[in-house]
């Protein structure tokens, strides 16, 4: 849910630096970036404010919450067991998130993509498992959201023909630096992928998922070095106050402070 901070940060950036020439994104940020690029800042803020609890409902997965009592432990065990069975039995079945419902909902809410071109072109990064490479895809229609949102292990991979794609977020937490263009003089990353919040060590299952996440973080640290500027939006942990307005304000304040600091240092000259 730290992705909501990207909206607040975008407001700070738009006010201080103007609109970006391109929005490059991956993972949950694809939803924020796409709405922003096609509908503008105010409409995006309204939409995510109104639909915040729906998104929370879709993306809240049992593995994130620590069990407080015996009943919760039992429930989580059953959920994890079902997950293991589902994930081992097919490539097409949902893993943690009910993706069939989720993508049907997105098709509906992002139907504007079919109707108009965006003010700011939006590109999403996806990872091709077979060629082991990242690819950029411009967002034109709701189905384009499918691969950049295939955040394994939470949402199943996206199979297109013989190819299997996952979100670049699953691979390295953030999208890579966008390809060079003459007009682009600054590549700024709004990093909302937490480097904390590992799942814990209560079972082999949790340990294996934690280790996978650690590798993603390690690759993220390396990917971030490719950007000119990075704004950290993953601290403090979003679980401390997971209300839309708090997350939005935190993003706005963090980005404003950072941009003013850079301006003082003449880093945008």
């Amino acid at each position: 849910m730290s992705a909501i901070r990207q909206l607040g940060a975008a407001r700070a950036l738009f006010e201080n630096l103007g609109k970006p020439l391109r929005i490059a994104t991956t993972g949950v940020g694809t939803l924020v970036g796409t709405f922003l690029g096609f509908q503008g800042l105010d409409a995006a803020s309204r939409f995510f404010s109104e639909h915040f609890s729906t998104f929370l409902g879709f993306l809240d997965v049992s593995i994130f919450s620590r069990p407080q009592n015996f009943m919760e432990k039992g429930t989580r065990f059953l959920a994890d067991f079902a997950t293991l069975v589902r994930a081992s039995s097919s490539t097409g079945k949902r893993i943690f998130v009910n993706s069939q419902q989720f993508f049907a909902y997105l098709s509906d809410q992002f139907s504007f993509l079919e109707e108009k071109a965006g003010d700011i072109p939006v590109f999403a990064s996806v990872f091709d498992i077979h060629s082991e490479s990242m690819q950029w895809r411009q967002i034109h229609k709701p189905s384009d959201l499918r691969a950049p949102l295939a955040i394994v292990p939470y949402i199943e991979p996206c199979t297109q023909g013989k190819k299997v794609f996952v979100s670049t977020q699953s691979f390295q937490g953030v999208c890579p630096r966008f390809p060079e263009e003459k007009e682009i003089s600054l590549h700024l990353c709004l990093d909302s992928t937490s480097e904390k919040d590992f799942l814990g060590s209560a079972s082999s299952f949790e340990i294996l998922l934690s280790c996978d996440k650690m590798r993603t973080q390690e690759l993220k640290r390396r990917a971030l070095s490719g950007f000119d500027r990075v704004i950290n939006l993953w601290e403090p942990s979003s679980s401390e106050d997971a209300r839309f307005i708090s997350l939005f304000q935190q993003g706005f304040v963090q980005a404003s402070v950072q941009v003013h600091k850079w301006k003082k240092q003449n880093l945008f000259l």
């Binding site: 994930a87 498992i129 082991e132 060590s201 079972s203 299952f205 340990i207 590798r215």
Partner: protein
């Protein structure tokens, strides 16, 4: 500044479970060339072989140790292979799934520690004949820790706890898992220990997969690609790189020690023996 002929050569031995027996072949070659590494670092199985060699500086002793433990732990190894290859009965498989969700490891906590205690006893890092260090992964912070002091058995155990197979190891209040999670070949740490040039040895087996039967397989394959990217970055800093990439065995096939050593020897002789000899000669002080 060191000239090219008086380099302190470091040896960084990578993670890879049973395939890590192949590290012995590189150590034997260096011994044959009379060029003892000035520093040694290890990750996971690289830490086991590295520590045994750093303590004894004798490849025969290390080889004997490998065969001794493979024989001694044969029943446990068979159980491990059966479990991980899904060859058990349906009740074994169910048992494995339940353990994955309810326990921190599929093997008993004591298996690894008691074996390593038999090898290293109360030896400390200060007892090794060359500077030695291992890497382990801090499970809470998600970062690599470099350990080069204290009891060898504790550090090597922390570095070798394959996630899921062995339980995390608690050292000084921190929970650790296998060093290979974030540092496949600890090249950087060898420089940190004082090496001028580093030989990096990778024993990874990363087969290319085109078909996936389940989401779990895709997740696991993606994880292997992440490991590969981390490895490429690790080895980018090495002065000489050795890849034992033809061993084609899963990490847990400890029962194949003889075959692994044979294959590794032949692979090494074909692709690296002469080049390594040249590298070592170029960086050996002239008398």
């Amino acid at each position: 500044m060191s000239s090219s002929t008086d380099s302190k050569i470091g040896l960084a031995l990578g993670a890879g479970g049973a395939r890590g027996f192949a590290h012995l072949i590189v150590l034997q070659k260096l011994q044959e060339l009379d060029r003892t590494p000035s520093v040694i670092t290890g990750s996971s199985m690289g830490s086991v072989i590295g520590a045994a060699y750093a303590l004894t500086m004798n490849t025969r002793v290390v080889e004997k140790m490998i065969h001794h433990f493979v024989r001694k732990l044969s029943p446990q190894i068979q159980t491990l292979v059966k479990r991980l290859e899904g060859k058990g009965s349906w009740s074994d498989q169910l048992d494995m799934a339940l353990k994955t969700l309810t326990r921190t490891s599929s093997l008993e906590a004591d298996t690894l520690y008691s074996m390593l205690t038999e090898v290293f006893g109360k030896a400390r890092f200060s007892d090794t004949k060359v500077p030695f260090g291992v890497v382990a992964t801090d499970l809470e912070k998600g970062v690599t820790e470099f350990i080069d002091s204290g009891f060898l058995v504790d550090a090597v155990c922390a570095s070798s706890t394959v996630p899921g197979a062995f339980p995390p190891v608690r050292l000084g209040g921190t929970q650790f898992v296998d060093g290979g999670v974030l540092r496949v070949v600890p090249v950087f740490e060898a420089y940190q220990l004082g090496a001028d040039r580093v030989i990096g040895v990778d024993v990874g087996d990363r087969p290319v997969q085109q078909e996936f039967a389940s989401s779990l397989e895709i997740i696991s394959y993606l994880n292997a690609i992440k490991e590969k990217r981390i490895l490429e970055s690790d080895l980018g800093g090495a002065s000489f790189r050795i890849f034992f990439d033809s061993l084609s065995l899963p990490w847990y096939r400890f029962d194949q020690s003889i075959e692994i050593l044979q294959k590794a020897r032949s692979h090494f002789e074909t692709y690296y023996a002469k080049e390594l000899e040249r590298f070592v000669t170029d960086h050996t002080p002239s008398t």
